[in-house]
C-alpha cells in the first residue's frame, strides 16, 4: 500500500506542475497586467515616467515571457516563498493567512451543521421510506438542492435586511463586522460576528444539507437490500438494532470518503457567496486578485486549491482502505 501511495504522490506532483504551468499561462494571457490596473487606479493626473514603468515591469517580472517567468516563480515556491502581492503591500502568504480565518468561520460551522442535521434527516427518510411525510421531506430537500445559492442569498438579503429593517430580526446586509466593532465588548463582538455570519452560513449550508441527506438515504437503501441485513433479521435481531448497528455503520464508509473530498471546499470559500455578502474570505480574495491581475496571489491560491484537491482525493482513497477491509491497494 505504501508503494501505491508513493506512486500516487509522484503522479500528483507531476499533475501539480502541469496545473500551475497551464494556469500561469492562462493568467498571463488575460488582457491587462497588474501595472495597467495600478496606473488606472492612480488616476490620469499623475503621468508616470517611462523609466518608472520599465523599473516596475522588471520588478514584477513582466519583462520576461510567461514560460520563463513561470520557472522564476516555481523556483521561489520550492524554497517556500510565494512572493509579494502586486496590488497590495503584503506577502501572498500573509494575505492568505489573513483570509483563512473568515472562510473557516463559515465553512467549518456550515460543515458541522450539515453533518448534525443531515444524518438524522437521511435516516428519518430511510425509516419512513414511501410514507407521505418522507415524500414531502425528500421533495423539499430536492428543491433545496436545486436552488442556486446566489438566488437564495439575494432573496434572504432582501427579506432580512430590507423587509425586516427596523425590527428585531433585521440582519446586516454584508461584511463581517459592524463599523463600531472595535469599541464593542467581547461578548458584543461575538454577537456582532454571529449576526453577520448567519445568512452566509445559512446559504452555505442548505445545499450541502440537501446533498448529504440524499446521499445518506441512497446509501442506506442500498445497504438495507444486502443479504447480511436479511440474515440479521432472520436470526431475530430487533428492527432498531438492525437499523443502527448493521445498516447505519456500513453507510459510514462512503461518508468518510466524502469527508476527504470536502477538504478543498473547506478552505476555498465560496466565490459568489463571499462576493454577495462582502465576506473577507478566500473566495473574495480570489475574485479580487483576478480583477486586479495580481498574478502572485492568484498563483498562490491556485496552488493551494490544487494541492488540497489532490490531497483530498488521496485522503479519500486512503480512508476508504482504512475503514473498509475489502479495499486494498496492494
Amino acid at each position: 500500500m505504501t508503494s501505491y501511495f508513493l506512486r500516487r504522490l509522484l503522479i500528483g506532483l507531476l499533475t501539480l506542475l502541469l496545473i500551475t504551468f497551464v494556469v500561469y499561462g492562462l493568467i498571463r494571457m488575460m488582457p491587462g497586467d497588474p501595472l495597467l490596473m495600478k496606473l488606472e487606479a492612480m488616476g490620469p493626473d499623475k503621468e508616470p515616467k517611462l523609466e518608472d514603468i520599465e523599473r516596475m515591469r522588471e520588478m514584477f517580472g513582466l519583462n520576461q515571457p510567461w514560460y520563463l517567468a513561470y520557472f522564476t516563480w516555481l523556483s521561489k515556491v520550492i524554497t517556500g516563498d510565494l512572493g509579494e502581492s502586486l496590488s497590495r503591500h503584503a506577502s501572498v502568504a500573509k494575505l492568505i493567512a489573513e483570509r483563512i480565518g473568515p472562510t473557516l468561520v463559515i465553512s467549518v460551522s456550515s460543515l458541522i451543521l450539515t453533518y448534525i442535521l443531515s444524518v438524522p434527516l437521511g435516516l428519518y427518510a430511510t425509516a419512513r421510506d414511501g410514507k407521505p411525510e418522507e415524500r414531502v421531506l425528500s421533495t423539499l430537500l430536492y428543491m433545496l438542492y436545486s436552488l442556486p445559492s446566489f438566488v437564495a442569498a439575494l432573496m434572504l438579503q432582501t427579506f432580512f435586511a430590507i423587509k425586516l429593517r427596523g425590527t428585531a430580526f433585521e440582519l446586516p446586509l454584508f461584511g463581517m463586522t459592524s463599523d463600531n466593532f472595535d469599541s464593542l465588548s467581547m461578548p458584543a463582538k461575538m454577537v456582532d460576528v454571529m449576526r453577520h455570519s448567519f445568512l452566509p452560513i445559512l446559504c452555505y449550508t442548505y445545499g450541502g444539507l440537501a446533498y448529504y441527506s440524499r446521499f445518506i438515504r441512497a446509501n442506506m437503501q442500498e445497504v438495507i437490500r444486502q443479504d447480511y441485513i436479511r440474515t440479521a433479521r432472520a436470526k431475530g435481531v430487533g428492527p432498531l438494532r438492525v437499523f443502527w448497528t448493521h445498516a447505519f455503520r456500513n453507510t459510514l464508509i462512503p461518508m468518510v470518503t466524502m469527508m476527504g473530498l470536502t477538504l478543498p471546499a473547506l478552505l476555498s470559500g465560496a466565490i459568489i457567496l463571499e462576493q454577495i455578502f462582502s465576506w473577507p474570505g478566500m473566495g473574495k480574495l480570489f475574485f479580487e486578485s483576478i480583477r486586479e491581475r495580481d498574478y502572485p496571489t492568484l498563483m498562490g491560491l491556485v496552488l493551494m486549491f490544487s494541492v488540497l484537491t489532490l490531497i483530498g482525493q488521496m485522503l479519500a482513497d486512503f480512508l476508504y482502505a482504512l475503514v473498509d477491509p475489502r479495499v486494498s491497494y496492494a
Partner: protein
Amino acid sequence: MTLKPPASRGFWAEAWRRYRKRKLALVALGYVALMGLVALFSPAIAGTKPIVCKYKGSLYFPALGYFNPRWENPIFRTDRFRGVYPANLKQKDPESWAIFPLLYQDPYRRVREGEWPNQPENPTRDEGQPSRANLFGTNRAGVDVFAQMVHGTRTALLVGFVSMGIAAVIGIIVGACAGYFGGWVDMLLSRVIEVVMCIPALVLILALIAILERPTIWHMMAVLGATSWTGIARLTRGEFIRLRNADFVTAARAIGVGRAGVMFRHIFRNALAPVLVPITFGIAAAILTESALSFLGFGAPPPNPSWGALLNDGRTNQQMWWLIVFPGVAIFLTVLAYNLIGEGLQEATDPRLKQSS
C-alpha cells in the same frame, strides 16, 4: 409452423415506460418542452415588432429581428422607423396592417407614452412595481422585466444544450480513447482530465473569455463546454474499460469491424444510457454557471437578455424585489427540472433497479 415469441420491448422503449411512471420527471419534461416553446415563440409573446405586417405592398416579418438583427428587413431602417412600429406604419403607409405580439413590451428598450393604445409609459428608477402593463415590473431604465425574461429563455435554453453538446463531444471522445486504448494513452488522457478538473473553473472561464476581444453568448457556450467535460469523460472511460473485453466486442472485432466502428457503433451505443445522466445534470450546471457569470458581471455583453443579468440588476437595487424574485424563481425551476429529468433517466436506465419496478 413455428411459434414466434412476442417481440420484447427494446431498451429505450423499456426505459421510457419506466420513466413515465415518475410523475415529477414527466412534469419536468413538460416544463422543459414549455420553455422550448416560449423560447421559440419569444418574439411573438413579448415584443414591439410586428410578427407579420403588410407595408408598401409586401409582407414582412420584423419580429424575426429578435433572433438575429439581420433578419429584420433593412427597409424599416431606411424608412426611419427607429424601432417604433405602430405609429410609423400608420403614418408612412395608411394601407398597411400588422399583427403585433401578445404583449407590447420590448426586452431592450423602454416603451414610451402613446406608443400603444391604452398602455401607459413604463415607469423608471425604482417605481416599476409589477402592474397590469408590466407584469413583472420594470428595471431602473424602464425596460419591461417580463419581456426580458421571455427573451432570456432563449439564452438559458441555448446555453444548456450547446455547451453540454460541446462538453459531451469532447468528453465522450477523450473518455472513449482513454478507456479503449488503455496503456500510456489512458495514462496521458487521465492526467489531462485531472488537470482540467483541478484548475478552478472560474480562472479557466475568465481567462478564456478574457482572451477574446468581444465575447458573445456563443463564446460563453464554447468556454462552458470546454471546461465541463471532465465528468462525462471519466464516466465514458469507465464504461469503455468495462465493455472493451465483452463478448460482443470480441465478436465484432473477429468479423473485421474497424477500430472506430467497434468504439462508436458497438461499445458507445451500450454506454450511452449511463453517459446521458451526467449530461442532463450538466445542462442544469451550465445554466447555473451562465447565470452566475452574468450575475457577477462576466456574462455576454448587454444586448443579450439573460436571467443572471437581471439578478445582477436586482443585486444593486435590492428594494426592487421583482428584479430578484422572478428571474430567481425561473433559474431555480429550470435547474430543478433538469435535475429531475436526470434523476428520472438514471432510475429508468439503471439495470440494477429493473426488478423493483
